[in-house]
Symmetry: C2
Subunit: 219 residues, 2 copies
């Protein structure tokens, strides 16, 4: 019985890794499409999001079935409930990558990023991609050092987000309204992507350490 | 055993109603603060959000304990898992009310809503408040007609959100960047509030009807 449960938990862990890899591809492609005004790539990110939603549904089903069949208690049970929260967080990260791709599609054949903000978005994109790489690594290795790195990248995203807004509000900024809206929303999506990555990583830390205090923020 | 479980499920349902009532007060006060530039009221919404987070935590704990002690299967188990999703959705709705209150605080002693958008925000605020009233009612009555009304109000919020953006982008709009950002973000918070209400109501419909197809969107 225990062996079957362990095998099932391993499949569940595999599903979460698969979800994180989808998120990784989505944010890499969305930010690449943003940098290169690649409409086709943006469309593919938008189309792919349904697969991530389906994966989330599979994780939910697997958790419910596992609870029903194995009637776990203690740590096993908390693993399953926490897995549900992690899958919800990964699904939200995928949504945010999709929103970025939608921004690219809306502005096409122009770029939604004005020259004034090219550098900030290049840096935000790099940080978001790195965060997604780290989330995959964290789910694979459960290495708590990786969780700390995710928090660091999220701080970078927060700082860049604030910088993007400051530039919009600075005297002498001459962008139009559409441009202002594009910058504000895209910067927000990238910043939120980092927030959700931190939430996911806190959940993983909780799985590893059982430390509730570190799991204070909800997804 | 069954009697205890039924009593526990009833406590859980009570917790969700209590959460929805917190959300109701939060959005009513946040939108009132928005309309009246009431800093003190805005501060109270921001301070109160911690109580909603604590309630979400209590729901989580209750679900986990119930699963562990009662080892439910079938419908009972799905009720518990769905309750976790509902609590996460309500918590997000509270966050959005908090974000609106933060917008009021940031702009104080001015209003973050320019004259051009007063009417739209009045209507969005009314729709968001009505949505929150309906969510309380739905959780209390499990009446599917109420769920349909929530979808209707969400459509209203979507339309008004689009209208708020159109007005920003219309020729002749003369607002500054800060004003544009305020309008864009506040309109988005109210629109997202409606989205989460629809997600919560879909979960409740799922509890009542067991119809998975109606539960296609993730919180």
């Amino acid at each position: 019985m225990r062996t079957i449960f362990t095998a099932e938990l391993s499949l569940l862990a595999g599903d979460l890794i698969e979800m994180s890899e989808h998120v990784q591809i989505a944010i890499h492609n969305a930010t690449k499409a943003l940098a290169t005004k690649d409409l086709e790539l943006a469309q593919s990110v938008i189309a792919e999001d349904a697969n991530l939603d389906a994966l989330e549904h599979r994780v939910d089903e697997r958790c419910v079935l596992l609870i029903a069949r194995q009637q776990p208690v203690g740590l096993d049970l908390r693993t399953l409930v926490t897995s549900l929260r992690i899958s919800a967080g990964l699904e939200r990260m995928g949504d945010l990558a999709q929103h970025i791709a939608e921004g690219v599609r809306r502005a096409y054949p122009d770029s939604p990023v004005p020259a004034s903000h090219k550098e900030i978005f290049r840096d935000m994109s790099a940080a978001a991609c790195q965060v997604s790489d780290l989330v995959v690594e964290l789910l694979k290795t459960r290495d708590l050092n990786v969780a700390a790195q995710i928090v660091g990248d999220d701080d970078t995203l927060d700082d860049l987000h604030a910088k993007a807004y400051s530039k919009l509000l600075a005297t002498g900024y001459k962008g139009g309204t559409q441009e202002t809206l594009d910058v504000a929303l895209l910067a927000r999506f990238l910043e939120r992507f980092g927030d959700h990555a931190v939430n996911v990583s806190r959940r993983v830390v909780y799985l590893v350490t059982g430390d509730v205090a570190r799991d204070s923020s909800a997804i």
